[in-house]
C-alpha cells in the first residue's frame, strides 16, 4: 500500500502542514504524518521546498 514518507532531510519548515487540507501533518522539528487522515492527495509534495516528502 502507498504511504507518504518523510525523508531524514526534512528540516521542519512545516510548509506541508500549512498546505494540508486534511490536518494530517504535525511538525515539531520534523514532519509526522497521520496515515489515518492522509488521503495521498500529494498537495504537500508540491509545497515541500527541499523535496523531503515522497509517496512509496
Amino acid at each position: 500500500m502507498e504511504r507518504l514518507i518523510v525523508k531524514d532531510s526534512c528540516v521542519g519548515c512545516a510548509f506541508c502542514m500549512l498546505s494540508c487540507r486534511f490536518d494530517a501533518i504535525e511538525v515539531v522539528g520534523k514532519a509526522e504524518i497521520d496515515h489515518e487522515k492522509c488521503t495521498l492527495c500529494r498537495r504537500c509534495l508540491l509545497y515541500c521546498p527541499i523535496s523531503a516528502l515522497v509517496i512509496e
Binding site: 532531510s9 528540516v11 521542519g12 519548515c13 512545516a14 510548509f15 502542514m17 500549512l18 498546505s19 511538525v27 515539531v28 522539528g29 520534523k30 508540491l46 509545497y47 521546498p49 527541499i50
Partner: protein, 388 residues
C-alpha cells in the same frame, strides 16, 4: 536584454521588478506553487503564517528595503514599530532605552567600536560580551538571535559596525500591512505590469554558463543574456555542476506562531526575551489585524544544531512566559540546511558575483552588510545597478 531569474524569493522578485521597470525582459522560474519564497505567508486556520522569518522589515519604512520598494513603485504600507523594542528580563518588562544598561557598558562598546575601526582588533562577540553586565550581555545575545539567528561566538565585532551604523541611521523595525506577502505579491504585480513573467512550479534543473547562459528545465531550455540566481552560491554551483566549494555555514532557527485571545505584547515593536533560549517575539496583529483571526504572536529562537531538544526547550519557555494566557500554538517551523533562516550566516557573505560575468547571486545567499531583508535589498541594489 533577457534576464532569467532562478527563484521567486524576495531577492529574485526585487531584482526582477527593478529590471523590468528599466525595460529588461524578465522571466522568473520558481519551483514551488507560490511566489515569495521565505518572504510570504500561507493562510492556515485563519492566520497568515509567514513562510520564513517574521512579518517584519528590520529598518522599517526608511531602511534599504523600504527605499528600494518605493523606487520600484511597489506600493506597500509599512508601519514603523512603536515602541521599537521592549525587554523582558527577570520576569519584568521595560521599554528598551539607554537607561536599561549601565553606562560602563556603553563606554566598553564605544571603545571596542574605535579599536575595531582603527583595525587594531576585531573581537569575537562572545569574548567581548564576557566583560559586560549580565543584562547587557543577554540583550546582545537576544538581539543577535532575533536579528541574525546566530549566537555571539559566531560573529566578530567588525561585522557589527555597519549594522550599528544602519540602526543609528534608519532606526528600528516596521511591519508591512498585509504581511510579507503584500511585499512579494506587490513585486509580482510590478513585474507582470511590465510584461515580465513569473513561472510557478517550474524548476530549474541545470544552468549552462556561456555567452548566452542557458536554463534547463524538465523537457525544455531557454537562453538569456544575464542570469540572476536567488538560491545562494552553493545551490547555484550545484546547478552548474561544480563541486561544492568551501561554503560558509547557514544559520538555523525556529519560529513559533501562536494564537492568543488577548494581546500579549500589546504593541507593534519587538519584545526581546533576555536570558532564555528564545530571543524575542512580536505581535503583528497590532499593526494589521487582518493578519490573524485573533491575535497572532510569533516567537523566534536561534538554534545551534537544529535538534528537537532545542525546540522542546523553547516550547517549555513559552509555556512559562504565557502562563495564565489563553493561547494555542498554531505552527512550529524550524529552518536549517538548504532551507535556513539565513542562507549564509551573518558576516560571512561572499558577495554577489560568481566566476561568470553574466551570472550573479542575489537574495539571502548574498546580502549586503545589514540585517535580513534589508541586507537582501542592499545586495540586490548592488547587482541591478551594475547591470543597468
Amino acid at each position: 536584454m533577457k534576464v532569467g531569474i532562478i527563484g521567486a524569493g524576495l531577492g529574485g522578485l526585487l531584482s526582477g521588478a527593478y529590471l523590468s521597470e528599466k525595460g529588461f525582459d524578465v522571466e522568473i522560474f520558481e519551483k514551488l506553487p507560490f511566489a515569495g519564497g521565505r518572504f510570504t505567508s500561507i493562510n492556515y486556520r485563519g492566520y497568515e503564517v509567514s513562510t520564513g522569518a517574521l512579518h517584519m522589515i528590520p529598518h522599517g519604512r526608511r531602511g534599504p528595503l523600504g527605499k528600494l520598494l518605493r523606487e520600484i513603485g511597489c506600493r506597500v504600507e509599512i508601519v514603523d514599530s512603536k515602541p521599537e523594542g521592549e525587554i523582558f528580563w527577570d520576569g519584568e518588562r521595560e521599554p528598551l532605552s539607554r537607561k536599561c544598561f549601565p553606562w560602563k557598558d556603553y563606554a566598553k562598546f564605544n571603545m571596542e567600536l574605535i579599536l575595531t575601526k582603527l583595525k587594531l582588533r576585531s573581537k569575537n562577540l562572545e569574548n567581548f560580551g564576557e566583560k559586560l553586565d549580565r543584562k547587557t550581555y543577554f540583550f546582545m545575545k537576544s538581539f543577535l538571535g532575533w536579528s541574525f539567528s546566530i549566537f555571539p561566538e559566531h560573529m566578530n565585532f567588525k561585522k557589527v559596525v555597519p549594522v550599528y551604523h544602519n540602526l543609528a541611521k534608519y532606526r528600528g523595525p516596521g511591519i508591512p500591512v498585509g504581511g510579507c506577502r503584500a511585499v512579494t505579491d506587490g513585486l509580482v504585480e510590478v513585474i507582470q505590469s511590465n510584461d515580465g513573467c513569473v513561472f510557478l512550479r517550474k524548476e530549474v534543473k541545470a544552468l549552462k554558463p556561456g555567452k548566452n547562459p542557458e536554463l534547463v528545465f524538465n523537457g525544455d531550455s531557454r537562453k538569456f543574456d544575464i542570469i540572476l540566481s536567488d538560491i545562494g552560491h552553493r545551490l547555484t554551483g550545484k546547478l552548474i555542476g561544480e563541486d561544492a566549494v568551501n561554503h560558509p555555514p547557514e544559520s538555523r532557527g525556529v519560529k513559533y506562531t501562536i494564537s492568543l485571545d488577548e494581546p500579549f505584547v500589546g504593541h507593534t515593536g519587538v519584545l526581546f526575551v533576555l536570558g532564555k533560549s528564545i530571543a524575542g517575539m512580536n505581535e503583528v496583529t497590532n499593526a494589521d489585524e487582518n493578519l490573524g483571526r485573533k491575535h497572532m504572536l510569533q516567537i523566534h529562537q536561534p538554534l545551534r544544531e537544529g535538534s528537537r531538544e532545542e525546540i522542546l526547550q523553547g516550547l517549555r519557555e513559552i509555556k512559562e512566559i504565557l502562563k495564565g494566557c489563553s493561547y494555542e500554538i498554531i505552527a512550529v517551523q524550524s529552518y536549517r540546511g538548504d532551507w535556513p533562516v539565513n542562507r549564509i550566516m551573518a558576516g560571512m557573505d561572499i558577495g554577489n558575483r560568481t566566476k561568470y560575468d553574466n551570472i550573479y547571486v542575489v537574495g539571502d545567499g548574498a546580502k549586503g552588510d545589514d540585517i535580513e531583508v534589508d541586507g537582501v535589498a542592499i545586495g540586490v541594489k548592488r547587482v541591478v545597478e551594475e547591470i543597468v
